[in-house]
Symmetry: C2
Subunit: 540 residues, 2 copies
């Protein structure tokens, strides 16, 4: 394919892509294919001779489209969003054009330098403490995902504490043995509701992992006292907590751990590396009303959020800020002879390969640059606030039917979690909540707790509560699976504090109230039907 053919092919591709975005809201979000669908539609080997682009392009619609889950649909409300925007797509086009494995400054100065500047722009936009700007001892780097950032941090933290503890030992076999022994006692910590990435990172780094309790009565947050208690109990066993992922917006409920309280605690544990995982909710920090969260960060070692979740930058783009660059480079710098060059040798430049695990890296800062300039800071604030408001809207809908639903958390950063209420035992069918909310047994309003629920809890023992919860879990799971099986919307669920909840967060660029209203109606219909059927979630 020469440049002329490329122009034609690309124009056709652009047209198809633009049409996709114009019509994605009309599609079912979830595909209806069964596992293995694609094998039947494709040859089992590559062709011997090249094919025309027209023929290849036609297959996108024929075989790929039916197998897509449409993350860019306004009806996608699962996990967290994975934003896409046109300026970011343009950025990736240029990144592909300027294709390089830019692991060193000399491999393409612009790739390194634009990244440093973009990370400074982002740090200022989020009002992060100055220590994370590149002019001091810290700085920012774009990595692929929050998971990779956590691995990068855990390994760096592991090596940092070993370096510190064994600083006075001479190099040699004995030191290596001591280091190995130490590694076996190191424990990485994360909230019980934190993303599984910390546990996976501990596995990769060959350390232990322990979760810190974050019960419902603490709002599913890690408090300073819970963290302290966990640390002390581990130390009492001869183990060494060396790392803690503090979460700003947990996957389950968007809870925010006690940032200020834990910042205070760092005085007592100077070797504990604290990493702020704000993978999703970090985007909200573009708005001043959330920036109070950032003040304690000056006490922590690293901070990360994914611009590719909720800030209009296409996957992948995870911004990783470090308070002291040396905490990374002291671990990751290896300069074999074929990577040496005068710029590296003179220490004049940033070689991002020494801040990360992989060697090569893409020109990801281009899409950040394009997005920040296309929307402007005010445009990004409006984007975030719109979704926060949509989250409040959805919450109000759920709260308006306390006969059917109990809110478990939120709205927080657009996310609400809730479960379905089983019928109260002994209540007659006529007392079951109906789809339109009419019920003779109780009057409810959107703002008051559910008297049925409260009365129910008061009347029974803890056993009955557990029984009711089990029923609620089963019922909620059925309602959730029913709504997803219709394929119109995509929701996800999770279990927090033993409670099975449905999660709803709607934060794609084309999200609107009308879609939330519609998914609410589907949930009401499914809930009312299943409660009426058996109420205990076990069917009749």
């Amino acid at each position: 394919m020469d440049p002329k053919q490329f122009r034609e092919a690309a124009q056709s591709a652009i047209d198809e892509i633009a049409r996709y975005y114009e019509t994605v809201a009309d599609r079912r979000v979830l595909p209806s294919v069964a596992p293995g669908y694609l094998q039947a539609l494709l040859p089992d080997a590559a062709p011997d001779e090249g094919e025309e682009w027209n023929k290849i392009q036609a297959d996108i619609d024929r075989v790929i489209m039916p197998g897509l889950t449409h993350w860019q649909s306004p009806k996608f409300m699962a996990f967290f969003p994975c934003n896409s925007s046109f300026p970011a797509m343009l950025g990736d086009m240029y990144s592909g054009a300027f294709n390089a494995a830019a692991f060193n400054w000399i491999c393409s100065p612009a790739v390194t330098e634009l990244e440093t500047i973009m990370m400074d722009w982002v740090a200022k936009m989020l009002n992060l403490p100055d220590c994370f700007l590149s002019k001091g001892e810290g700085g920012g780097i774009i990595q692929g995902t929050a998971s990779e950032v956590v691995v990068t941090s855990v390994v760096a933290a592991r090596e940092r504490i070993i370096r510190r503890r064994l600083a006075d030992m001479p190099e040699g076999e004995e030191k290596m043995d001591k280091a190995s022994e130490m590694r076996g006692k190191l424990v990485a910590l994360g909230s019980e509701h934190a993303h599984s990435s910390t546990q996976k990172a501990a596995l990769i780094a060959g350390t232990r992992f322990r979760s810190v309790p974050a019960p419902r009565e603490d709002g599913f947050r890690v408090t300073a006292s819970a963290l302290r208690q966990t640390i002390e109990s581990l130390k009492a066993k001869g183990l060494e907590p060396f790392y803690f992922t503090i979460t700003l917006g947990t996957t389950a409920t968007c809870a925010v751990d006690d940032l200020e309280g834990i910042a205070e605690l760092t005085k007592d544990y100077p070797d504990l590396w604290i990493h702020v995982d704000a993978a999703y909710a970090g985007s909200a920090l573009v708005c001043p009303e959330y920036q109070h969260h950032c003040k304690p960060f000056a006490h922590f070692d690293s901070f990360n959020f994914n611009l590719h979740k909720w800030l209009l930058v296409n996957f992948d783009c995870s911004a990783f800020f470090i308070r002291k660059r040396r905490d990374l480079t002291d671990t990751y710098t290896l300069t074999p002879s074929y990577l040496r060059n005068e710029f590296t040798d003179k220490g004049l430049v940033t070689d991002y390969r020494d801040w990360q695990i992989p060697l090569g890296r893409r020109f990801r800062s281009l899409k950040v640059w394009f997005v920040l300039r296309s929307y402007g800071i005010n445009g990004l604030r409006a984007f975030i606030r719109n979704h926060v408001q949509l989250g409040e809207y959805f919450h109000s809908l759920i709260a308006s039917r306390p006969d059917l639903f109990t809110v478990v958390s939120g709205p927080a950063f657009g996310l609400t979690t809730f479960h379905v209420n089983p019928r109260r035992p002994g209540a007659s069918r006529s007392e079951s909540p109906s789809a339109n909310g009419a019920s003779s047994s109780a009057t409810t309003t959107a703002d008051k707790p559910n008297p049925q629920h409260e009365a129910y809890l008061n009347d029974f023992t803890a056993d009955a509560n557990a029984h009711w919860q089990a029923d609620a879990n089963q019922l909620t799971k059925e309602v959730y699976e029913h709504v997803n099986s219709q394929g119109e919307f995509f929701l996800t669920s999770t279990v927090v504090g033993g409670v099975y909840v449905i999660r709803v967060v709607s934060a794609t660029p084309t999200a609107e109230e009308k879609y939330l209203k519609k998914v609410f109606e589907s949930l009401v219909e499914a809930a009312a039907e299943k409660v009426a059927k058996g109420g205990k979630g076990k069917g009749d």
Copy 2:
């Protein structure tokens, strides 16, 4: 930016990109900017309001272009190539459009299924043993880079040997302690000329690392006996070699370790995980004349090559094949409640997140599909063979001036390494090689060894040899830096067996003999000048 604006902006971008490819050969390969150039050209913060696309696009040429190293230029002959092609760029455009964090099958069935099928196409195209096809116990996955693949393998290997050795111990504290103790004794191995990624992976995994000698007399290859010797000497010290990266095409010289001999050796070390790193040269395996290399792979655990180096797929795209999927999933599977779904639970699908370190992943198989179909297997073979021939051409040029140059390795997979010859001590200036090769002291032909060099070596002691080599190293370094400083071509250098060499490999899609001829002329001019000046590389 709405779809209509996107159509216009994208058309303009496509045009600029096509023009870039039409004219890249006219550009200097290396930029002339100094470190920090970009800061002066950009504002120090993001704008408050959004800007028009025209204004943003204009800055690409103004501030980015001057800071690019042009990897797609036919004058880029450094490191290994980082191929780019139009079909791959189209693939990445659609990948961006269908933006998703496709960590599970349900996140977009097409993303998982096309990847499985593409890896089968690639395995068949390379004639890999059947064990690497998805229909059996093995399979393939696309990861970002060879470095990440090595980390993935080293950690999996570490956990595999620990699982095997401690299979009979009950779970608990004692087992964890024993596992930690074991980890401290584990040693990962790689050729002394292998890529630094194995050493970095060992660091990340918290194991030791030892390099296996691969001296010049063995052609810079690891032989079975050298590997066996290293393993046995480590075991004698109570250490446990658990992993070995065998290289097909080392970074330094494209040497190929003794694949067959080491395959034989696996019988004696059943717990040793052997990973084939063919990051660059693996692409040559599309040609049947190289496929004899693949036969021994059935004895190894994993195989990897980067389609983004030398197979026309834009960065990033590293194909990782595993002989037994369970060797990955037994280590990496963690399924927290928010990732559970019926397809995963029933074991019906591949969830690639359990074969890798990160969670989210892009739709990278699209560009593989487009490239394989656009070129066809025969087109890819022609592509490889053309570069192999260019490598032979350049080698013949270097070999035609044995007065100036000594070939150290190659041509191998397009790569030749060589050093510059210092003037023989005692030879008068009139006997120095001149740029046109005329010399009164010796007659030389392209195919015979350099009599001057031979005589020189025979006449002196080992001390003098070392002295000569030090001179050669210094001289070669000066010639190398001189050519690069001109910015017209980009070469790299390395040190093998104490010898400083210049590496030349020309494998971009637009590579041609005329560019190799020109860089050869630059090398001759620089070498003749510097040898004439002092001959010992120290100047006069």
